[in-house]
């Protein structure tokens, strides 16, 4: 059975690249430390593929024909998409895909009752994939990726319970449908609190972010699912904070495991609370 050898989550604010040097030194240090730790973990995990569970920011579909999930089946994933290059101020990257594994994810999730779309074309990537790829040096690691882009901003979209359940289905297909010796990494990207384009843009709900990270560190997933509701996410930043649903999907895939909070910082010009965690995948999950 294939196994999940790495599970991590991190924010993807565009300014983490282009506006990094302008940030207060303390924020820079937190980001360098946290993303540096993720880069090291990715390098050392001897992975065959990283499944990146990211949010789609309406970069690939019109919002009247908007899928809940899109699996990237391209043989190579290149970015950032043209419109976002200057905005992100990041270098172009090209990372190998795994069309064979992506196909199994598409069919495996479909067979388990999850409605997913997929494309063999290169998806348009903005900060969702570009920032974590650059900040955690995935291109240099040589590990192929499979992006799964998730709707968290065009209602209705799957809530925390459904995302967690889909995470369980993803784990089931990794265990049963993928090649037996495959080492899989899961990387959730999105959040933390922000309200892109909304009346509270630039505002970061630090209390919410710290509370959320505390819940993860505490490790009680029932409590997470009971309390991190769509309404609570909306209150902490409409249309942005809900990106944390990608973290919850990964939590569903791995079950209750020790969560190591790698850092958190809030600088208003980044327009987003920045946090990163990794889960301990070396021991068996609790309660399974």
């Amino acid at each position: 059975m294939a196994n999940i050898s790495l599970a991590v989550a991190a924010s993807h604010a565009p300014g983490l690249i282009g506006m990094f040097d302008q940030a207060p030194r303390e924020s820079q240090q937190v980001v360098s430390s946290a993303y540096g730790s993720l880069a090291r973990q990715i390098r050392e995990a001897d992975l065959d593929v990283i499944i990146m569970v990211a949010n789609d920011h309406m970069a690939n579909n019109r919002i009247r024909e908007y899928p809940d999930f899109i699996v990237g089946m391209a043989p190579e994933h290149r970015g950032p998409a043209e419109f976002f290059k200057d905005w992100l101020a990041c270098d172009e990257y090209a990372i190998p895909g795994r069309p064979d594994i992506a196909e199994k994810i598409l069919n495996g999730l479909s067979q388990r009752g999850v409605r997913v779309s997929a494309t063999r074309e290169n998806l348009n990537f903005d900060d969702n994939i570009s920032v974590p790829v650059v900040k955690t040096e995935i291109e240099a690691s040589g590990v192929p990726i499979i992006p799964i882009l998730q709707n968290v901003t065009v209602p209705p979209f799957p809530d925390q319970h459904r995302c967690y359940e889909i995470g369980r289905q993803l784990a089931d297909l990794i265990e049963n449908d993928l090649p037996s010796d495959l080492r899989v990494g899961l990387f959730a990207t999105g959040g933390m609190s922000h309200e892109p384009g909304g009346v509270r843009d630039f505002w970061i709900d630090e209390d919410f972010d710290n509370w959320f990270l505390g819940l993860l560190a505490n490790g009680d997933h029932d409590k997470v699912l009971a309390e991190v509701t769509l309404q609570r996410l909306e209150e902490a930043g409409s249309g942005g904070t809900g990106e944390l649903l990608s973290w919850i999907l990964v939590m569903g895939a791995i079950g209750e495991r020790h969560c190591n909070v790698l850092g958190y910082t809030a600088w208003d010009k980044w327009r987003c609370g920045i946090g990163a965690v990794s889960w301990d995948m070396t021991s068996a999950p609790a309660g399974r």
Partner: protein, 108 residues
């Protein structure tokens, strides 16, 4: 601000998506905005709101805020790293405050 009031059928959304996906169209839009707007079945209210950079009205018509932030980068010609000034213009509009650089800027 809630996402529940979004009008998924709004033609303005198509305009923004096309501008994002097509650099040539974006160039044409910069040079001759009216000619591009003429090709979209915008309601008079949508068209006026776009021409007047009135994001408050666009949002009230059901425009998605996330696309609002992206549209602001095009309309306020600020798509460079962070696009802070475009977002400040957007915020001033949806908060019905004076535009940045004209008195009370909405500096975050």
């Amino acid at each position: 601000m809630s996402l529940e009031g979004i009008n998924r059928a709004l033609v303005s959304h198509d305009l923004v998506q096309d501008l994002k996906w097509n650099a040539d169209l974006r160039q044409e839009f910069e040079e001759d905005e009216s000619a591009v707007l003429d090709r979209y079945e915008l309601t008079p209210a949508e068209r006026t709101a776009i021409e007047e950079r009135d994001f408050r009205t666009l949002y009230d018509l059901g425009f998605h805020p996330y696309l609002g932030a992206q549209f602001a980068r095009i309309l306020f010609a600020n798509n460079k790293s962070g696009a802070t000034s475009a977002v400040q213009h957007l915020l001033a509009s949806i908060r019905r405050e004076p535009a940045p650089g004209h008195g009370e800027a909405s500096e975050a």
